[in-house]
């Protein structure tokens, strides 16, 4: 009788596997959502703002690299850099909206991918304030580019909300990947990811992409 009963730890493990399989099945099986259409002040512009950072691969790799570097630098930096970046980026965006000229913005964005990729690849660990300044400088370029490209018709608040949330989620993707550094193999995976980002950045810088 007792032989047929499984051990509690085994049952718990099976339950976890079942939950994980169910979750994966849901994620794979979901189709395009088509319930709510955008309407009103909160809706219009949000999608446009949310998609804005996601439409530029140069932005994507740099945002992810910020999260990865933060995770590499340690627990405090993991969360400090994603606090600094959106605030400084918004200031850059405001400069762009205001028409303030910043030279070589596109070069700065490509360079951000190169530099951030390299620091991750080489597992550079400067003091937190140095990392903050580097990230802040690049955030100005990213924000400025977004600011100058903003559509005139966008609802200001919902556009900005979508834009900032998408950027933040990209950071979180980078952090999630960067947290693999807890394992020896993960450290190499993250450093490899940094090298790939630096390579992509070089392609942007030279105009190959």
């Amino acid at each position: 009788m007792t032989a047929t009963r499984s051990h509690p730890a085994l049952r718990s493990g099976r339950a976890k596997i079942t939950r994980a399989c169910t979750l994966i099945a849901f994620l794979l099986g979901c189709g395009a959502a088509s319930a709510h259409t955008e309407a009103g002040a909160a809706g219009s512009g949000f999608t446009s703002g949310f998609l804005h950072p996601l439409m530029g691969p140069d932005h994507i790799v740099a945002m992810v690299a910020v999260g990865m570097w933060g995770a590499f630098l340690g627990s405090r930096a993991t969360w400090t850099l994603p606090v600094i970046f959106p605030v400084v980026m918004a200031i850059g965006g405001a400069l762009g909206v205001a028409g303030v000229h910043i030279p070589a913005v596109e070069t700065g964005i490509a360079l951000s991918a190169v530099v951030l990729g390299i620091v991750v690849a080489f597992a550079a660990r400067p003091p937190l304030w140095v990392a903050g300044v580097i990230v802040g400088i690049f955030a100005i370029f990213h924000g400025h580019a977004h600011g100058t490209e903003l559509p005139e018709s966008a609802n200001a608040l919902s556009f900005a909300a979508g834009f900032v949330i998408a950027t933040g989620l990209l950071h979180l993707c980078g952090i999630a990947f960067g947290l693999l550094v807890k394992w020896p193999w993960g450290k190499w995976a993250v450093r490899g990811g940094g090298a790939v980002i630096a390579g992509v950045g070089v392609c942007f810088l030279t105009g190959w992409l």
């Binding site: 980026m89 200031i91 900005a160 909300a161 900032v164």
Partner: protein, 199 residues
Amino acid sequence: MIRRRALPAVCLLLALPLQAQAHTTVEGLNEFTNGLIHPLFTPAHVLVLLAFGLWTSRLRPFNPRLSLAGFAGASFVGLAITMSGKGPLPMAVPVIVAVVAAAIVAADLTLPDRALLALTEIAGLILGLDSPADPGVAGFTLIKTLLGTWVGLIICFMMPAYYLSLLPERKWAAYGVRILASWIIAIAVMVLALSFRKG
């Protein structure tokens, strides 16, 4: 002296060409319910309520009574003033209040209770003043709408504070709250910049 210095800033704020938002009316709902959901339909108010919710949630020990009392009293006064035809305010005003509260959270500043009380009262007054009923609404209907708005504001003030206070006392939770606050600052700065351009 301080007042004289603050005057140009106040004039600038009032001159900002930002769109003011009155009540969003949803057909089929009564006046009270329409007032109740009003804060959720005004994105600038959502920013303020979230920012203060984040701030209140980080109080240790968690004790929202002081800020809640200040907010409820001041928003009541603000809503009462709108009955005389005042409001709504330029959108920049609540957005700037949201920036101030979010900056305190993002920088992890610990301010005395008096400062929290003063700022929540200012926020309450501004949100109240910025929530007038539609023109033409009068009498008992007006009272029901404003009462609904007042209750809605209090609920929307407390909900983020309460639920975020349930987060465990872990570093990631504290940093998560600060990241959310930085997002509020970024959104607000972009809104102000975009509004200047549109003006």
